[in-house]
C-alpha cells in the first residue's frame, strides 16, 4: 500500500480537478476548491522542507570540514540568521524598517539582479566563439536573429530609415515576429499542449509514477 495508496490519491484528486472544470455545482466546486487550497498549503510546507534540507546538507559539510566548508559556514549562518530574524518579526517581516526588509533590499535583491545580469557578458562571448553558421538552418537562424536584434532597437530604425518602409529593419522584424515566428511558436504551443495533456493523464491514471521515487 506504500505505493498504491498515493497512486489512488493522485488519481482521485486529479480526476476531481478535471471534473471541476466542467461541473460548476457546489458538490464538486467546494471539495475541488478545498483540494486546491490544501495543495497551496502543502507546497508552502515543501519550501520550508527545501530550506531545511539545504541547511542539513551544508551543516554536514561544515561539521565534516569538507573542502569549501568555510563558505558553507557563511551559507549556514546566513540561512539561520535570516530565518531567526524573519520568524521573530512575524507576519509584517517585510515592512519598512524591519531587519528582514533590510536583508531583502540590500542583500537578496542586488545579488539576485546581478547574478542574472552576468548573462549579458556571456551572450556576447558566446556570440563570438560559439555561434557558427555552417548549415542552411543555422544561416536562417542567424539572419532572423540579426534582423530581430537590430530591428527591435532604435539604431536599427535609424540605420535603415532611408530605405522604403517595407525594407526597413523594424518592418522586417515585425513581419518575422508576426508570420513565420508566430506560426512555428503556435506549432510548438499546440505540440506542447498535447504532450502536457498526455502526461497529465498518464500521471492521473498511474501510468507515470516517477514522482514516487525510491523503494517500497
Amino acid at each position: 500500500m506504500k505505493r498504491e495508496f498515493p497512486l489512488m490519491i493522485t488519481a482521485a484528486v486529479g480526476l476531481f480537478m478535471i471534473l471541476s472544470f466542467f461541473v460548476p455545482h457546489q458538490l464538486v466546486s467546494v471539495p475541488a476548491d478545498f483540494l486546491q487550497q490544501s495543495a497551496i498549503v502543502v507546497v508552502a510546507f515543501g519550501y520550508v522542507l527545501g530550506g531545511a534540507n539545504a541547511l542539513k546538507l551544508n551543516a554536514e559539510t561544515v561539521y565534516k570540514r569538507n573542502p569549501g566548508w568555510i563558505y558553507k559556514l557563511i551559507l549556514v549562518v546566513a540561512l539561520v540568521s535570516t530565518v531567526e530574524i524573519g520568524v521573530a518579526e512575524g507576519p509584517g517581516f517585510l515592512d519598512d524598517g524591519k531587519r528582514s526588509r533590510w536583508i531583502y533590499d540590500q542583500l537578496y535583491s542586488p545579488m539576485a539582479a546581478t547574478m542574472f545580469s552576468m548573462l549579458a557578458f556571456y551572450i556576447a562571448s558566446a556570440a563570438f566563439r560559439a555561434f557558427r553558421i555552417r548549415t542552411v538552418e543555422a544561416g536562417l537562424l542567424a539572419i532572423a536573429a540579426l534582423i530581430v536584434m537590430l530591428g527591435r532597437v532604435p539604431i536599427g530604425d535609424l540605420a535603415t530609415s532611408w530605405l522604403p518602409t517595407s525594407l526597413q529593419l523594424p518592418t522586417l522584424q515585425e513581419w518575422i515576429m508576426e508570420v513565420p515566428q508566430n506560426a512555428a511558436k503556435r506549432a510548438i504551443l499546440i505540440g506542447a499542449a498535447l504532450g502536457v495533456m498526455a502526461t497529465g493523464l498518464r500521471v492521473i491514471l498511474g501510468i507515470e509514477r516517477s514522482y514516487l521515487s525510491g523503494e517500497d
Partner: protein
C-alpha cells in the same frame, strides 16, 4: 559625482561588484557573495512561506475554528465548512504538510508520498485542463483563419502562416519516418522553426542586456549619484 552616504547602498553596491568580479576569474570575494546569497535566499523562502501561506491560509483559520468561528460569523462549529471557509478541515493539509518532512528520515520517508500525491494530483488536473483549453482549443481556433482576406499582402501572410504552422506541426510527428512528402514538409517546418529560434535569440539578447543596464543604472544613480 555625488557618492551616497547610505551604508546600505554601499553594501548592495559592493556585493554587486563582488558578483561581477567573477567575470575576471573565480575568486574568494565572489564565492563569499554567492554563498551569502544562497543562504539568505533559502532562509527568506522559509520565512516567506511561513508568514504568507502557512500562517494566514492554514494556522489562523484552524485556530479560529477551535473556537467554532470562521469567515462567516453566522456559522458556528469547528467543521462547519463552506466555500472558502474550511475551518477544522485544514487539519488535513496541515498534517500532509508535516508528513512532507518525513522525507528527511529514511525509514518513514514513504509517508511523504501522500503529500506529494495530493500536490501531483491537483496540478496534473489543473494543468491538463489549462493546456487543453488555453493552448490547444484556443490556438487551433485561432489558426482557422481565411486564407483570402481581400488584400494580396495579408492573404500571402495568412498562407505563409498556415503553411508554416502545418509544416512545423508535421516536423513533430514522429510516428512515421520523415521521407517523401512528409520529409519535405518537415524540412520546411524546420526552416520555420529555425526562424523562430533566431527571433527568440534576438529577444533573449535584449533581455539579458536589459538586466545589465539595470545594474549599471543602480551603480551609477543610486551609488555614485551620476545622472546621465
Amino acid at each position: 559625482m555625488n557618492l551616497t552616504h547610505d551604508l546600505s547602498v554601499w553594501i548592495a553596491a559592493l556585493l554587486t561588484l563582488a558578483v561581477f568580479s567573477f567575470l575576471y576569474k573565480d575568486n574568494p570575494l565572489y564565492k563569499f557573495a554567492e554563498h551569502l546569497f544562497v543562504g539568505v535566499s533559502a532562509g527568506y523562502y522559509i520565512v516567506l512561506n511561513l508568514w504568507t501561506v502557512i500562517y494566514p491560509n492554514m494556522w489562523e483559520p484552524l485556530t479560529k475554528s477551535l473556537r467554532g468561528e470562521g469567515v462567516d460569523a453566522a456559522r458556528h462549529g469547528m467543521f462547519a465548512a463552506e466555500l472558502g471557509d474550511y475551518r477544522g478541515w485544514l487539519l488535513i493539509p496541515g498534517l500532509l504538510g508535516v508528513l512532507l518532512f518525513t522525507r528527511l528520515f529514511g525509514r518513514i520517508g514513504w509517508m511523504s508520498r501522500w503529500s506529494l500525491a495530493l500536490i501531483i494530483g491537483v496540478y496534473a488536473g489543473i494543468k491538463t485542463t489549462g493546456f487543453a483549453q488555453g493552448d490547444f482549443v484556443a490556438q487551433v481556433q485561432g489558426s482557422l483563419q481565411p486564407l483570402w482576406t481581400g488584400q494580396a499582402g495579408s492573404s500571402l501572410n495568412a498562407i505563409i502562416f498556415t503553411v508554416g504552422l502545418m509544416t512545423s506541426l508535421l516536423f513533430f510527428f514522429y510516428s512515421r519516418e520523415h521521407k517523401g512528402a512528409l520529409g519535405a514538409a518537415s524540412k520546411l517546418g524546420i526552416y520555420f522553426l529555425m526562424v523562430s529560434f533566431g527571433a527568440g535569440y534576438g529577444y533573449t539578447v535584449m533581455s539579458r542586456v536589459s538586466l545589465l543596464i539595470g545594474r549599471f543604472q543602480f551603480l551609477l544613480q543610486d551609488w555614485l549619484g551620476i545622472r546621465g
